[in-house]
């Protein structure tokens, strides 16, 4: 068992690796003796590391209802993630967590109609909530998922979206890509514009995650559609080292993303300095 407060991780193992896109892979991680390293709630994160390479915070993309392993979808974009993309099934990896405040799945979100909006790899943290909701389907209202990416090849979790999510009851999935391409019959355009064209009612609770610029324009669009900031949750990302609110790196104003976040309600974000 890891001791989160000592910064000392537990040794885990990568049991399988799935290619999602050319630069995103999903890693299934268990503890060395099998089973999940620790419990978590949707939206929470964990620190993955390889000694001598580095350590970084990743959102746990699997739902807590998955009792066998944890999944992390990792985009290749830095020292550790480059290295992780060279790793093989069976390789050891260290893990500590869970860190951060989760989405309020067991109180605020219960019984609500839910609108999930994601861009690119931003679907990773949202997927944890989506699958949690699907596994407790009767506890929640309708589900709308609006997801976009640069190209069709950059849409993550494509098989799961097509084979599982689309067939769930009271669920609509809307996909879009930035530019037209051969073989794509779905919508073309940026997420905020697509969102505005869908005619969705504003009585939903929204969970949005993606690149900062996408979040910014999505929020503007949502407000235009009549949503209130209090209805919207997002996850923020800043550089982290400790994960427990000590190292002082991930603050936005007086809030620490690792401890007070990464999940924030958007009206709370408005009260913070614009520095993220």
């Amino acid at each position: 068992m890891c001791m989160p407060d000592t910064l000392i991780p537990e040794v885990g193992v990568i049991t399988s690796i799935r290619d999602e896109t050319p630069d995103v892979k999903t890693f299934c991680v268990t503890s060395a003796t099998g089973g999940k390293p620790f419990g978590h709630k949707p939206g929470q994160c964990a620190m993955l590391s390889v000694p001598g390479v580095g350590e970084a915070m990743f959102s746990i993309t699997s739902s807590p209802t998955n009792t066998l392993y944890m999944e992390f979808s990792v985009k290749r974009c830095g020292t550790l993630t480059d290295y992780m993309h060279t790793m093989q099934e069976g390789d050891g990896i260290t893990i500590r967590g869970p860190y951060g405040k989760p989405f309020p799945v067991d109180d605020v979100l219960r019984g609500q109609d839910l609108l999930f909006i994601a861009g690119g790899i931003g679907l990773a943290p949202v997927r944890s909530v989506i699958n949690y909701v699907f596994d407790k389907r009767e506890d929640y209202g309708s589900v709308d998922i609006v997801y976009g990416s640069r190209s069709a090849g950059d849409l993550v979790f494509r098989p799961e979206i097509e084979d599982t999510w689309r067939s769930r009851p009271r669920t609509n999935v809307y996909l879009t890509i930035d530019r037209p391409e051969e073989g794509w019959s779905g919508n073309v355009g940026f997420v905020p514009a697509y969102l505005g064209s869908l005619g969705l009612g504003c009585d939903k609770t929204v969970i949005v995650c993606g690149p900062p610029v996408m979040i910014k324009f999505v929020l503007e669009e949502l407000v235009k559609l009549g949503f209130k900031k209090q209805q919207i949750y997002t996850t923020l990302e800043l550089r982290m080292k400790c994960g427990i609110g000590k190292c002082g790196r991930c603050n936005i104003g007086s809030k620490l993303v690792c401890k007070d976040g990464p999940v924030f309600r958007c009206d709370e974000v408005d009260e913070l300095p614009d520095e993220y």
Partner: protein, 339 residues
């Protein structure tokens, strides 16, 4: 209260060093820092401020967390041991003692930092009254009484004696070890000395700063103040202010390649550095203005908002003294309305 003849100071230190590590100010090449006492080492209690604050005995500048070895597909982790040896920091000034209180709020707050907790649990602090406070000192506005600093033991070097007043149980245990040298004394014996110190303090330029302007400061208003646009013009983006600060808490976690594995260690860090918040996809604090603002917002606004109004500054004046460009927190406080 007790007193020990100043001529027996060496015996006192040797006695303590027999049962624990003793860290005290030592002068080397013109600069004074806390260091490990051993027989023959000359303590420097005259210099007011050490370059590095004594927080390093509770939060070392570099500290190993564990050793990690990648062995084929396996990874082995050997956690570093928690501190288990008693020690005393002898001669900490009142400002630095308050600095420890501020660090305690961070490191002993949930979740507790176990490495820090272990050091705090094994360390005793003997606070020394400041006989000659300097013109850069401004601890009084933060509630420090430099003539009567409160720690495990309060000490005064006055006349021919070292006066000791145990304050906590740990302090009583420490003075108990010194029984053969102790003579009874009375608070009256240091009253005149304390009065002298208070008079000296009153004559200092920053002694009576009023921090009222920072009370209930509006975070966004201060953050968006035009003050930040030019106040950091002279900042060279070094980490001096952070590293000499008794309340700067930030650390980085890094790997040190040992050839047969990696030691993962943490090390003091500074928000003044350009890589502090650098991520693969960019940096939320792009210029020195944002980094500079962060340091002072943290001390004057962010920390107080989570710590019942307590500022993360203790008025030690080290940054006033050491900044290569003569910038410092007083200048920033004044530009934000402190007078």
């Amino acid at each position: 209260m007790y007193k020990v003849s100043a001529t027996q100071l060496t015996d006192v230190l040797n006695t303590l060093a027999g049962t624990m590590d003793v860290f005290l100010p030592i002068r080397k090449d013109g600069q004074t820092n806390f260091g490990l006492y051993a027989e023959g080492v000359q303590a420097d209690f005259d210099t007011l401020k050490t370059v590095k604050p004594p927080k390093e005995f509770f939060l070392p500048q570099s500290e190993s967390l564990y050793k990690g070895v990648v062995d084929g597909k396996d990874i082995h982790i050997e956690p570093a041991a928690f501190a288990d040896r008693p020690f005393v920091v002898f001669g900490m000034r009142g400002c630095d003692v308050l600095g420890m209180e501020i660090l305690d709020k961070v490191y002993l707050g949930e979740p507790v930092d176990r490495f820090y907790e272990a050091r705090r649990g094994h360390g005793c602090v003997v606070a020394l009254a400041c006989g000659r406070p300097a013109s850069t000192c401004f601890c009084k506005p933060f509630g420090v009484d430099a003539s009567d600093p409160q720690a495990d033991v309060t000490a005064w070097l006055c006349g021919q004696y070292l006066y000791l007043e145990p304050v906590t149980e740990r302090g009583r245990q420490l003075t108990h070890k010194l029984e053969p040298f102790l003579q009874d004394a009375d608070a009256e014996d240091v009253a005149e000395y304390r009065q002298e110190i208070r008079e000296r303090l009153e004559a200092l330029p920053y002694n009576n700063l009023s921090l009222d302007a920072l009370k209930d400061a509006d975070m966004l208003e201060v953050f968006n103040s035009p003050v930040w646009d030019s106040v950091c013009d002279a900042c060279i983006a070094c980490g001096t202010c952070s590293y000499v600060c008794p309340t700067c808490q930030c650390y980085d976690i890094k790997d040190y390649n040992t050839g047969d594995g990696a030691i993962r260690y943490r090390t003091w860090d500074s928000c003044m550095y350009s890589d502090f918040t650098l991520m693969a996809h960019g940096n939320p604090r792009k210029t020195q203005k944002e980094r500079f603002r962060q340091r002072f917002m943290h001390k004057l606004v962010y920390h107080p908002s989570t710590a019942g109004g307590q500022l993360s500054c203790v008025g030690c004046g080290r940054c006033v003294n050491k900044c290569p460009s003569s910038l410092n927190i007083v200048k920033i406080m004044k530009s934000l309305g402190v007078s």
